[in-house]
């Protein structure tokens, strides 16, 4: 009996000794590395990012060069030469799909950045200072929040005009109406973090508002914002395609999957490939970001632990 006891003792003591006090972040990262969904999503996104930076790696045809198109070979089906067939102008659909990744990824990333920065900062201020700062910011956010974002973006882009439309106007139009959602989430998280004991302790020790916000509140309130930001990325990418499809977003000669779908639309029944392949890539991209968001939420949400 005594032997087994002495043997067991170091076993039961060891694990707490080795374990460092795990933060939410290291716990989340530990979970993420083991999540199949995360790994699949990360690989898909990595491929898409490489595709958008160096499209030449994936396609020997430069889709921006109109001389590669051959009108006599318009609307061909899938073949060894044209893996995804050709479109109305006889351009190679495969290379256009590859080159189209850049716009989607850029719109997704930059719209997310802009909304997260603006919404996050204003939400932090509203949650931290409360009172009239909160009242004003929340009311303004409410006004923007009441406009459905695709509809609002359509309106803004329609007014900007097709001549001025491009990737940055699309980013702007999407961001203008999407930041209030981030503000709301950040505000709620900051408000619950603000009254925690460690924040009160830091305040009692004489920490100023800047230090309180940056060192104590923000690290503990940013998790839900990160979850929403990752999920939004897919939403923005789908919205860009929708706006470009409606003719107010990205304009030719830029290449966007939404624009390719719009171009192939009228000959859809004769040459479905020209529409289905950009549609497939669009769905896969959105899927990758939705999966990433799902995995990140599972890892960061302490309620699910």
């Amino acid at each position: 009996m005594s032997d087994t006891l002495t043997e067991q003792k170091p076993k039961s003591v060891k694990p707490p000794k080795q374990k460092k006090p795990a933060s939410l972040w290291s716990d989340a990262w530990y979970d993420l590395r083991r999540s199949k969904v995360f790994i699949i999503a990360a690989v898909m996104i990595a491929v898409l990012v490489v595709m958008s930076i160096i499209p030449g790696l994936f396609s020997s045809v430069n889709a921006f060069d109109p001389s590669t198109c051959d009108l006599t070979k318009a609307r061909q089906g899938v073949s060894g030469l044209h893996w995804f067939g050709t479109d109305n102008q006889g351009c190679d659909t495969y290379s256009r799909v590859i080159y189209g990744a850049r716009i989607s990824i850029m719109v997704g990333v930059f719209s997310t950045l802009v909304t997260t920065l603006i919404g996050g900062l204003l939400g932090l201020l509203a949650g931290f200072y409360g009172r009239w700062t909160d009242t004003i910011l929340s009311r303004v956010a409410e006004i923007f929040f009441a406009i459905p974002s695709t509809l609002g973006a359509l309106l803004i882009l329609a007014l900007v005009g097709r001549d001025n439309a491009g990737i940055w106007t699309v980013v702007l139009a999407l961001s203008v109406l999407a930041w209030p959602m981030v503000l709301r989430i950040m505000r709620a998280a900051v408000m619950s973090a603000k009254s925690q004991d460690y924040v009160l302790a830091a305040r009692a020790l004489g920490a100023g508002p800047g230090r309180l916000m940056s060192r104590h509140i923000l690290p503990n309130a940013v998790a839900p914002v990160i979850v929403v930001a990752t999920m939004n990325m897919g939403v923005f990418i789908a919205a860009e395609a929708a706006l470009s499809f409606l003719g107010v977003g990205i304009q030719s000669p830029d290449i966007s999957w939404g624009l390719m779908i719009a171009d192939a639309r009228n000959r859809f029944l004769q040459a479905p490939e020209a529409l289905l392949f950009p549609a497939l890539f669009l769905s896969l991209t959105v899927l990758a970001f939705v999966m990433l968001g799902d995995a990140v939420r599972d890892a960061l949400d302490p309620k699910l632990r």
Partner: protein, 313 residues
């Protein structure tokens, strides 16, 4: 309750005014002379220009213009286009089509979403549950832009050519309620996924509640526990979600209507964007935003009615 309703209604007023003002400012701050646009490249007769500017209050400050506009909206007048056509005649019949479409989508969404969520919650952790969750992930990732064309091709045309079943019309509204089926499914797509997940979490939560355990312990049949105790209580967030979604579906119908050639308000919006008929664009967006806000307001109030545990002062 009564006081809450009044307070909530009063709170909605600044949002309404702010939102409409925002839209109005966006449109009318833009450079360009709409009267000149009417005449194209030719010179405009100064008298005509003055009369038109007077008629459309173009020389008044923005706030005054907005005042005229909002005054018109409250009396059901959405203004006239610069070509002289009243905006409300353009609206005629089109709201009905969009509303039909949104309602069809809502019904499909409710049946499929709640059904799938129910099955997933009851089979929690099993293969069925995992499959349903994976399906919702897939559903969220397919934009209406993609599902619209794919379903049009597969259900609308290939089904017809291969089996002779002509059940899903692919365009227009000539086939009565059936014309709305395919676009309804497409429009409901993403919402189905959210509703499934919401139903699943909500039901799983209530299934864990003490009163459900008590009901099972006292020997109530499982079916009855589910129907009387669990489902009824988990329905509250679902109903409110559905209500709020009606507004979102109506404004989300733009793409679906364009793909399926439904002559609704969404397609009119796109057409007007092409024709630069700003007054129509503003009118449609304003009305859709009003519906969106009203739906959210009603849902907020409904929440208090449906769940007696929630008390507002």
């Amino acid at each position: 309750m009564g006081r809450y309703v009044v307070r909530r209604l009063l709170q909605a007023i600044p949002v309404l005014l702010g939102t409409t003002f925002l839209i109005f400012t966006l449109v009318y701050w833009l450079p360009g002379d709409p009267i000149q646009a009417l005449a194209g490249d030719r010179a405009v007769d100064p008298v005509f220009r003055a009369t038109m500017r007077e008629m459309f209050h173009l020389d008044d400050p923005l706030v005054v213009q907005y005042g005229y506009y909002i005054q018109g909206i409250f009396s059901g007048d959405f203004g006239t286009t610069f070509r002289g056509l009243p905006v409300s005649t353009i609206f005629e019949g089109k709201f009905q089509i969009t509303l039909n479409l949104a309602m069809t989508a809502l019904v499909i969404e409710a049946i499929v979403g709640i059904g799938l969520g129910l099955v997933a919650a009851l089979r929690r952790g099993k293969a069925t549950d995992t499959a349903i969750l994976a399906f919702t992930l897939l559903l969220v990732s397919i934009p209406t832009l993609v599902s619209g064309f794919v379903l049009q091709l597969v259900l609308g045309l290939q089904l017809k050519t291969s089996t002779g079943i002509d059940f899903f019309p692919v365009a227009g509204t000539s086939a009565g309620w059936r014309s709305y089926l395919l676009p309804g499914i497409v429009l409901a797509g993403t919402s189905i996924a959210y509703l499934t997940r919401l139903t699943r979490t909500s039901l799983m939560e209530t299934l864990r509640a003490d009163y459900v355990r008590t009901a099972i312990a006292k020997g109530m049949p499982r079916r009855r526990v589910l129907g009387r105790h669990a489902l009824r209580n988990s329905l509250i967030p679902l109903v409110t979600y559905l209500g709020a979604d009606l507004g979102a579906l109506m404004s989300g119908a733009v793409i679906t209507e364009t793909i399926f050639n439904l002559n609704g308000i969404g397609r009119q919006l796109v057409d007007s964007v092409y024709l630069s008929e700003n007054s129509v664009v503003v009118g449609i967006v304003t009305v859709l935003v009003l519906i969106f806000i009203a739906a959210n307001l009603i849902v907020d109030l409904l929440y208090a009615v449906l769940d007696p545990r929630i008390r507002y002062e």
